[in-house]
């Protein structure tokens, strides 16, 4: 049995937390003798020492190969239904390329919104939070008619919808008019609310042309009066005992401000947004999580350490940088290395004017001039003395 003394020894050892936990878990309910315990600890110690990474190992190349090689086995299918049948997500190779490209916006931004405890147990309460998030255009709140005779656009607001969505007429009038002016850059109109008949009347300033009326009608129909503009759709789903919101479209900052959202667990697949809102460390973890999920979904096993290295490299300077010409590879110090990658001639011409100096530290540079590279066995500086 695992005695307290043994437990202490495991817990105070130098092993990584994972190994300690595994030891505790696997020995927890087993019968074994003192000697066997010692034997196990010694074997673990030995294996731990053996599995240390060796100095001068070219970990970068290994990481690059480990991520690049399975690329050939991945599918190209852009759309896949992940978990939620209703929401499309880019997966496979295109998604992996997207992550490494550090795109400003993924081709299919989605969020997984967790709710705080008072909202996540009940579908209706979760739905209430989702009303605050899902972008709802005005036409969802009632019928919109264009009155050509009086040059007006009439919105007959449906009271049932208002009650369901917990929003008042005044709020709708206010946001609609503000959003049409600010977001849609259309200013030449006036609004009047008729609370008794539940009608909102929009009138264009220029009464001469029908074109204005139709333009206004279009704006009125589509103006977002409730929810967050970028989030086009929200799906409520029950998963492992709680209600979770899945969204199409992403806006981390605004979602965080919605009451009822659990800001700790909520996540988005838009990495640059995470970098802006939560900082570079979070972005680095997001790159890892996204890359790992993309590879894992395709059934490809890749050690986290490789992805970690790529993520660290991308986030090294405090901003998310692309793997490629406009990021890491393009900002290298070595002229020859950059010239050997892409846009050869321009790099050489610019280097001449700026009087750049290539110190020949990197791999490509040394291959180009034909001398040993400073990695692995090429970096061991050891010269045997001859016996004479």
């Amino acid at each position: 049995m695992l005695t307290d003394a043994m437990r202490d020894r495991i817990e105070s050892s130098d092993f990584p937390p994972l190994t300690r936990q595994q030891l505790l878990d696997s020995l927890g309910d087993k019968e074994f003798s003192e000697e066997q315990f010692e034997e196990i600890l010694e074997a673990v110690q030995n294996e731990f020492e053996e599995t240390r990474i060796e100095p001068l190992e070219a970990v970068g190349v290994i990481a690059a190969q480990s991520i690049g090689e399975p690329g050939t086995q991945m599918t190209m299918r852009t759309f896949h239904y992940a978990g939620v049948a209703e929401i499309n997500v880019t997966l496979g190779l295109p998604r992996l390329i997207e992550i490494m490209d550090a795109r400003k916006e993924p081709s299919t931004p989605t969020m997984t919104i967790y709710l705080s405890s008072e909202f996540n147990e009940d579908r209706d309460r979760a739905r209430m939070v989702s009303w605050q998030i899902e972008a709802a255009p005005l036409h969802e709140f009632g019928d919109i008619t264009t009155d050509m005779e009086n040059m007006q656009v009439l919105v007959a607001v449906n009271q049932a919808v208002l009650a369901k969505r917990k929003i008042s007429m005044e709020m709708i009038v206010e946001t609609a008019q503000k959003k049409i002016r600010d977001r849609r850059h259309y200013r030449d109109f006036e609004v009047e609310a008729d609370p008794e008949n539940h009608v909102i009347i929009f009138t264009p300033k220029d009464q001469e042309k029908y074109q204005n009326l139709f333009q206004l009608a279009e704006h009125v129909r589509n103006v977002i009066v409730q929810g967050i503009d970028d989030i086009e759709r929200v799906v409520v789903r029950k998963e492992s005992g709680e209600y979770i919101l899945y969204t199409e479209g992403s806006n981390l900052k605004d979602v965080f401000e919605v009451p009822g959202v659990d800001t700790v667990r909520t996540r988005t697949n838009n990495i640059s947004e995470i970098a802006q809102v939560l900082g570079i460390e979070a972005a680095r973890n997001a790159i890892m999580a996204e890359a790992l999920a993309t590879l894992g979904e395709q059934g490809i096993k890749v050690d986290v350490r490789h992805i970690m290295l790529v993520a660290d490299m991308m986030c090294m300077d405090g901003e998310v940088k692309q793997i490629g010409r406009h990021g890491i590879a393009g900002e290298k110090e070595s002229v020859l290395s950059r010239a050997a990658f892409e846009v050869t001639v321009n790099h050489l011409l610019d280097a001449a004017v700026a009087n750049e100096i290539d110190e020949l530290n990197g791999v490509t540079e040394n291959v180009i001039v034909g001398q040993p590279i400073q990695l692995g066995t090429g970096d061991v500086k050891l010269v045997a003395k001859s016996r004479t």
């Binding site: 990481a63 852009t78 190779l93």
Partner: protein
């Protein structure tokens, strides 16, 4: 040995006209190359002072022969300056940010202060940009009013004059531009990120053109004896011709118009000489109409100087041929055809210790007729570096001369270490070191178990072989690159070499359930392994014949103190595991090297999974593991031959009942689909949230038909048991899946394009065989038949559509993932683990403080864990954890 010289650094800068003239050995003035006798004109483009390419001639500058002369630059004095195309953007910027009369930067000292404070001067480079200078202003230094500078591609600059409110453009000649650039003071240039000591901006306007040595633009002599000049020479001829004409016209005082035309022509030729792909400039063409390959084109792109010749190099001592399998070889070996072994050599230095042996090699010479002949030698290198070819009558004389200090280039023989490679080399296991086994035939032979790391098959694949030429290279090959050192993949920390295909079927057939073998059968099975004694028989028959169980036979190749428990790939994850009593025999238990229960299959010995393999590597080391792979592959090949294993058309036969059931199932699915379509057409379909009714219907149909296909598979699977080869292969994980069998025996199922039913084709229908707007299953690519039954004509079309998508997918994917890999490698190649455990670039920047946060080597760790705790506890406690 003195340490080899290292190039410390390379500095980049511009050549000044002065430098060009000093490094030039000849001023070139004649556009012609050779005279009628085929001798180069002096002061022509092929002047002997520029280096020699014809054998026999000597260089006039260095007096060396063609092989040794590196070539020398000449120069052309241009009649008027011309702009260097590569620097047009720089020139534009400089013209816009400096004063047109005094040349100073268009910023007052205060403004300069402000700008350089905000700029990140630590990074150097571009400190000031055009945006820092306001448009339309007067020079703060001399008060001159500035004009707008227009730039027109490729090389035209002009100023915009405002005359009486009308705009008019005034062209700037390169000479004007040069004069303006000359006026910019050095202190201002530094602010612009230009080092005036090595790169005065006016040097970007060329007054003198360097003529590259003949050695970098050699002419080729065609079969008919005609000379064909290099593209660069052609271009230089054009330049000189125009330049001479320009000079003549200038001296003769030709009208301004003609001068301008000639100037532009000269500019065009110099431009295309530097870069023949400039936007807005027709490329210069060869007589045949092919665009010329000029300086930029030589450097650029995949086959350019940088990527084609400098980063990647051609090598000697390499061989390439088709590969074929040979299960009797060890995984660490490679079979090499005799004809290749005879051609390739290993240099051996003659010492007092091996002098006699070397003499024998030399005496045997290059001839070697049969495999049994000992290896000979092809060359001998004397201490004065002279290389003597062996052969004919010189063998004995050379053998006599042999003494320490000579080097003998010996032919390949069994046991030599070589590097073996298959492209695309996507990971480091694509190049591994094997030991040679010289063989008959004309192909490289390898054990099929090493196919996964190379991603090789035998449908005509070719592979390359390289013979390391130095002792250091051979040592690295044996210690780091050898096959047994690369059984584990650094990608996920599991074995990547292991049994494939028939190895798995064979070992599955051997170890499944319980069987008893007689002594002769056991010996037949283990004939190739290194087994020296048999264990006690597991049982003795009534007539006294001793018998060994199949599990005993397998245990004989296991290390004696291996303990482990796992579930085979035939395990179906029952709700309650019956452990040793598993009806599928999927509970594998090994105690002290004895297989107690369970079937050995893909999970145990396969590449990528290989639980037994993985445990052996960790407990007993790489060498034991490679021996185990050899033993297991040989044993399984023998085992599969006991019963025999084949697969044919009648293996998909189903009885009439099954056919009836399948038809019934498909009919039911069809009805269901029709019912749903009716509901949809009546407008009664309740759409899923956020979907249109059409999308909802499509999803439902896909679901129904998918289920129907799976059911037909189940029906077929019920009929076909483990006695069926396809089922056996699918269950053991050797090849294929139950889906493949379903499609062969049951029903092929829905064909799709982009994850949806096939919708494209004719107006409102896929094929003319159907009515318009038919939403039925068969009208949109559902294939009712199986591969065995054969497809109807419409089904055949749909199948081709679905199949084509797969082909396109593969083609696109290879190029995309190849580029992703190139970018990844380029971004990460300079990273290494420093001695203190941090990850740094070769420049010394720290990327991670502790590699992977725990310093574990992903290859040595167990599937990502730093220590295989489960394995250790299992082998100590000898029970399942």
């Amino acid at each position: 040995m003195p340490s080899p010289k290292r190039i410390g650094k390379i500095t980049f800068g511009l050549l000044s006209p002065k430098e060009i003239r000093t490094m030039s050995v000849r001023k070139i003035i004649w556009a012609d190359t050779y005279d009628d006798d085929g001798f180069p004109y002096p002061q022509g483009l092929m002047d002997l002072a520029l280096g020699v390419i014809d054998p026999g001639l000597r260089c006039k500058t260095c007096d060396q022969k063609a092989a040794d002369c590196p070539g020398h630059f000449g120069h052309i004095e241009l009649a008027k300056p011309v702009i260097h195309v590569g620097y047009t953007r720089l020139i534009r910027k400089l013209l816009r940010v400096t004063c047109r009369s005094c040349g100073r930067l268009l910023l007052s000292p205060d403004e300069i202060q402000k700008v350089s404070l905000t700029a990140d001067d630590e990074l150097g480079g571009e400190v000031l940009t055009e945006k820092d200078i306001k448009k339309e202003r007067a020079c703060p230094h001399c008060g001159e009013l500035q004009l707008k500078v227009n730039f027109e591609k490729p090389t035209t600059f002009s100023e915009v004059l405002l005359e009486e409110g009308r705009k008019s453009e005034h062209k700037l000649t390169p000479a004007d531009i040069r004069a303006r650039l000359e006026r910019i003071p050095p202190s201002d240039l530094r602010l612009l990120g230009i080092n005036p000591d090595v790169a005065r901006p006016e040097w970007t306007v060329l007054t003198v053109l360097p003529v590259p040595p003949v050695t970098m633009r050699p002419s080729i002599i065609l079969e008919n004896g005609q000379r064909s000049e290099d593209d660069l020479t052609h271009k230089l001829v054009d330049i000189i011709r125009i330049n001479q004409r320009f000079k003549e016209n200038q001296d003769a005082g030709a009208p301004q118009l003609i001068i301008e035309d000639l100037w532009e022509l000269l500019q065009y030729h110099v431009t295309t000489y530097l870069d023949n792909e400039v936007a807005g400039c027709p490329p210069a063409r060869h007589r045949s109409g092919r665009p010329l390959k000029t300086l930029s084109q030589r450097l650029k792109g995949k086959d350019g100087r940088f990527r084609g010749s400098l980063s990647g190099k051609r090598v000697n001592f390499s061989a390439r041929t088709v590969i074929s399998p040979n299960p009797n070889l060890s995984v660490t070996e490679v079979g090499v055809p005799l004809s290749i072994a005879v051609e390739m050599t290993v240099p051996v230095r003659v010492t007092t210790h091996n002098l006699e042996e070397m003499r024998e090699f030399v005496l045997r010479g290059p001839e070697r007729r049969t495999l049994r002949d000992p290896c000979g030698a092809n060359y001998v290198i004397r201490p004065d570096k002279r290389r003597l070819r062996l052969g004919g009558d010189n063998l004995e004389t050379i053998a006599e001369q042999l003494e320490p200090g000579y080097t003998v280039e010996r032919q390949l023989r069994d046991g030599d270490i070589v590097l073996f490679n298959r492209q695309p080399s996507l990971h480091r296991m694509s190049i591994m070191a094997h030991r040679i086994k010289v063989m008959d035939g004309k192909t490289f032979r390898l054990n099929p178990a090493v196919c996964p790391p190379y991603n090789a098959d035998f449908d005509g694949d070719e592979m390359n072989l390289h013979v390391p030429q130095t002792e250091e290279a051979r040592a690295e090959a044996a210690i780091l690159i050898a096959v047994q050192e690369n059984i584990l993949s650094p990608r996920f920390g599991g074995p990547i070499i292991g049994g494939i295909h028939d190895h798995i079927s064979g070992i599955f057939m051997l170890t499944h359930d319980l069987r008893w073998f007689t002594k002769s059968e056991v010996l037949y099975l283990l004939k190739y392994g290194e087994i020296d004694h048999l264990p006690e028989p597991g049982r003795i028959d009534e007539d006294g014949t001793p018998r060994w169980s199949n599990k005993q036979v397998f245990s004989m190749i296991l290390p004696s103190d291996l303990n482990m428990v796992f579930r085979a790939s035939s395990c179906v994850n029952c709700d309650e595991c019956r452990h040793v009593d598993c009806e599928r025999d999927a509970y594998v238990r090994i105690v002290d090297g004895q297989l107690v229960s369970g079937t050995v299959d893909k999970k145990a010995i396969g590449a990528f999974d290989g639980a037994i393999l993985n445990r052996i590597i960790r407990r007993f080391g790489m060498d034991r593991a490679s021996r185990f792979i050899d033993d297991v592959t040989k044993l399984s090949i023998r085992a599969i031959m006991i019963d025999g294993f084949s697969f044919g058309i009648d293996d998909e036969d189903l009885s009439r009942t099954e056919h009836g059931q399948i038809e019934e199932e498909l009919a039911r699915a069809k009805d269901d689909v029709e019912r749903r379509i009716r509901i949809f057409e009546e407008g009664q379909l309740e759409p899923m949230p956020g979907r249109t009714p059409e999308e909802t219907l499509e999803m439902q149909i896909m679901q129904v038909l998918g289920k129907a296909r799976d059911r037909t598979g189940e029906i077929a699977g019920r009929h076909l048991g483990l006695g069926n080869s396809a089922v056996l292969m699918a269950v053991s994980g050797a090849r294929g899946s139950m889906l493949n069998l379903t499609q062969m025996a049951g029903c092929i199922g829905q064909q799709s394009v982009r994850g949806e039913r096939i919708m494209r084709g004719y107006e409102e229908r896929t094929l003319p065989h159907y009515r318009r707007r038919d939403r039925g299953a068969d009208a949109h690519g559902f294939i009712l038949h199986s591969y065995k039954e054969g497809l109807s004509p419409t089904e055949f079309f749909f199948h081709a559509i679905g199949g084509r998508e797969g082909l396109v997918d593969t083609a696109v994917r290879t190029s995309q993932s190849g580029y992703l890999q190139r970018r990844l490698i380029n971004a990460l190649q300079d990273l290494k683990v420093a001695y203190d455990g941090t990850v740094r670039t070769t420049m010394g920047r720290i990327i991670q403080y502790h590699y992977g946060e725990d310093g574990t080597d992903p290859m040595k760790g167990s599937f990502g864990d730093p220590v295989d705790v489960k394995g250790i506890v299992e082998s100590v406690l000898k029970e399942e954890v």
